[in-house]
Symmetry: C2
Subunit: 339 residues, 2 copies
């Protein structure tokens, strides 16, 4: 163990698309855990689209970061020093921590990582916040019924890939939008999607959707927004449910974006459109973790992580989310497994 | 009773804003009721914004009218000839009938009109489809709770005026948007709205709304769409509910209208937006009619009808809806009370 720590701080707020100037890697001392805390050496950290919102100077569900603040998010790490009985040095845990080599975390705010269930990085994806978002968003907001057609945007991402697989378990026809042939092939060939549309290879989303979802759309799980969403809204069935989980197409907009109005379309089909935030389901996280863990351990739920190596590359990994660089969950490997 | 009947037919489909060329008054024979039917002399007929949708050549919840078809809607009439035991000549009934002097209606599809409860024309408004729409739309889709701020657009219309009054019964703060000082005065002085905004007298809906609803919006009952709705969406509270009942600002649009995208706003507040059609609540119409009737009879629920005289003026009354000519329910008086 070294004496020095590195951590990423917000150097400036982005205007429009963020770039590397927004981030600064600072050296600091390795923190000392207080009673009840753990000192953790970061193995993997998570970069997520929602973090773009925390870079704005505006109150939202996640507190905005101030310039100079440490960036934070999901991490998986190894306990180096424990000031809590429940954990010992060498344990793997996951929780919310700094983008840093080392971080202190409250022991009662972390969960154990079981490498016999899945590789530790999966605890930032299918077994972490994205998996729980998919689980509750699809089942509680989307309310899929057997025979429904479920459409997912950002389908090859950390959330979308789990949404589609749970929808298949529920007896639905599943159609995904994704941004490359490699992604769409993964969706149909490995995840069991019934159809997948490479939106970068067509300029007629309406036609592509009508072909892939000829019976219309009963559930739409939206991670993206923009023209894909416009096409899906034009094909909603009676009593359709729309879970608005993310709108990555708009996160870098500086002005309120405009597009086709959707409310007039909702009346005839009585569709329900609902914003989704996984923290609303916190009291049931145990249920989701237990089921997702079982499905992952048995191989019934496929997961995938795109790994960028090195803490120094965390901002690049974050920026790559907006380019669709990732398949499955984008993580950053901060330190190797100890031998 | 005369031998000739007059009825309005769709002469041509409107493009954009309808005009009088879309309507043709035809003479026809007074129809003869089949067994189980009633011949009814129309006293009042209802013109409603949703009828604009039936003039389009597009399937929707209400079957489109073909060119040459009789226009139909809610009517109140007096039974002239009955081929059903439940009704006798002289009875007042309400149901769906042609825009005509006389119409035949199936006896099992009409409801009795009780003039001791309210003037017969109220059965086309607060005691008819608009009242039931307000009742179920507010209570079942809007789900108001005491202390909520409820905002209604088209607040001085047939539906909106009832929505606001029911919301007041539920202990809510109620704010209405309407299009004249006469209307806003009616809302605040006679219906008990806490605040009303004359949207034609301001060009800053955001500021007006923030002043009238300083604690944000918990329930939005939307009859209108357009810029009013844009302003309300920017002020939705956590877990807000939006009932999309009508979008009269867009009914005459020939292209899909554009405007600020609303989905990105829904995530942080987890708002729920739902299209509303009163027919989905048909199994509970008895409940609504009983309560609305009781509130009207006791004077607890204020209702108002704007009456245009003469069947020949029905198209003008319909077109006036898009100009906001009506306060409360717009009806057409087709024949006077028999002495």
């Amino acid at each position: 163990m070294t004496d020095t720590n590195r951590e990423w701080v917000l150097a400036e707020r982005p205007t429009g698309e963020p770039d590397l100037d927004c981030f600064e890697l600072r050296e600091s001392a390795v923190p000392t855990p207080d009673p009840g805390e753990l000192l953790v050496r970061t193995r993997f950290l998570s970069v997520d689209p929602y973090m773009r919102g925390r870079m704005r100077d505006a109150e939202s569900y996640a507190e905005p970061w101030d310039v100079g603040d440490s960036l934070k998010g999901g991490i998986v790490g190894e306990v180096v020093e424990s000031e809590h009985d429940a954990y010992a040095a060498g344990d793997l845990v996951t929780g919310e921590g700094a983008w840093a080599d080392y971080a202190t975390l409250a022991a009662d705010a972390v969960a154990p990582v079981d490498p016999s269930v899945a590789d530790p990085e999966a605890y930032l994806g299918a077994l972490g916040m994205p998996g729980r978002t998919a689980y509750f968003g699809l089942l509680e907001v989307g309310e899929p019924k057997p025979g429904d057609t479920v459409v997912v945007s950002g389908a090859a991402g950390a959330v979308g890939s789990v949404v589609g697989q749970i929808a298949k378990r529920n007896g639905c026809r599943v159609v995904g939008f994704a941004g490359s042939d490699e992604k769409t092939a993964w969706l149909t060939d490995e995840l069991g999607f019934d159809a997948a549309i490479n939106y970068k290879a067509t300029d007629d989303y309406h036609a592509a959707l009508e072909s892939a979802a000829p019976n219309g759309v009963d559930v739409y799980f939206d991670n993206v927004g923009g023209p894909i969403t416009d096409a899906v809204f034009a094909n909603l069935n009676l009593d359709a449910r729309v879970a608005v989980c993310g709108q990555i197409a708009h996160y870098n907009d500086e002005e309120v974006p405009t597009g086709p109005r959707k409310l007039p379309q909702l009346i005839a089909v009585r569709a329900r459109v609902q914003g989704l935030l996984v923290s609303d389901f916190a009291s049931r996280f145990g249920e989701a973790s237990e089921r997702l863990g079982r499905w992952v351990a048995s191989g019934e739920l496929t997961h995938r992580e795109t790994v960028v190596d090195g803490l120094e590359n965390a901002p690049d990994a974050f920026l790559g989310l907006f380019e669709g660089d990732n398949i499955g969950k984008q993580v950053v490997r901060v330190s190797p497994e100890t031998a």
